[in-house]
């Protein structure tokens, strides 16, 4: 499974937003921390077993992933969002969140 690294995010931010390296270095810690918070929120919604909440957090984290150039993570988040918003109780959300964890845990930790 493809894992993301910090350098990928730095390069994306610099290119997409035309940000100087110092600015990227300054912004990155708060962005990484935010990703960690979003993942915690996703797991809280998962623990509550509430598809609507799971879908709402899925939407939020999808936008965050897109803005950091993490498109494959955003695709998983979109699946979580769509199925959650549809009120689907049959989806294995835990497995989808686990897939996200495998891709970004080493970035967040």
């Amino acid at each position: 499974m493809h894992q993301h690294n910090i350098q990928h995010i730095k390069t994306y931010l610099a290119e997409q937003f035309n940000l100087p390296d110092e600015q990227v270095e300054m912004l990155l810690p708060s962005f990484i921390e935010t990703l960690g918070t979003h993942m915690q929120n996703l797991e809280k919604a998962l623990a509550d077993n509430n598809p609507t909440s799971i879908g709402a957090v899925g939407h939020t984290i999808k936008g965050a992933f897109l803005n950091l150039g993490l498109e494959d993570c955003a695709s998983i988040a979109l699946r979580i969002e769509e199925r959650g918003k549809a009120g689907d109780h049959t989806t294995n959300y835990k497995q989808l969140v686990e897939e996200l964890r495998l891709k970004i845990d080493h970035v967040i930790d």
């Binding site: 600015q23 935010t34 939020t60 936008g63 897109l66 950091l68 979109l78």
Partner: protein, 140 residues
């Protein structure tokens, strides 16, 4: 030197909010709020003081409690109540993920918003919109 514009950024997600502010700050003074209720408060306040209304409102659509659509309707109602019409109304750039873009069409067709920007955000696309909306000059 180009006139600085007054901008309101309405976005509940930190990363998007921060990047929008980074991109827009060179063009004007940015106020930032994190939900729809704060947005309506900021807009009401801006209309109550002469020369302080916003030139541009960047409005996220999916926010808890009050959506971007609700903020937009409320904003246009306040403008109507204040007798603000046509070119004097604030230009609204709605922000959403690409797969939600269909949600914007109604507001766009009815003229409540001027344009929309999809996530992932992009500096070049944002600046293109600002030029089209004549908020910045063509050489910027």
């Amino acid at each position: 030197m180009a006139k600085k514009i007054k901008i309101l950024i309405v976005e509940d997600e930190f990363i998007s909010r921060t990047l929008l502010k980074e991109m827009l700050s060179p063009f004007g003074d940015c106020d930032v709020v994190t939900n729809g209720r704060e947005a309506v408060d900021a807009l009401e306040k801006s209309y109550s003081v002469a020369e302080s209304s916003y030139d541009l409102v960047c409005l996220d659509i999916m926010m808890p409690k009050m959506s971007g659509h609700e903020v937009l309707r409320e904003m246009r109602r306040i403008e109507k109540d204040k007798g603000i019409y046509g070119a004097d109304t604030a230009k609204v750039l709605m922000v959403t993920a690409l797969d939600d873009a269909k949600n914007i069409m109604e507001a766009l067709v009815e003229g409540r918003c001027a344009a929309y920007l999809t996530k992932p955000l992009s500096k070049s696309r944002l600046e293109e919109h600002l030029r089209q909306l004549q908020l910045i000059e063509n050489n910027m």
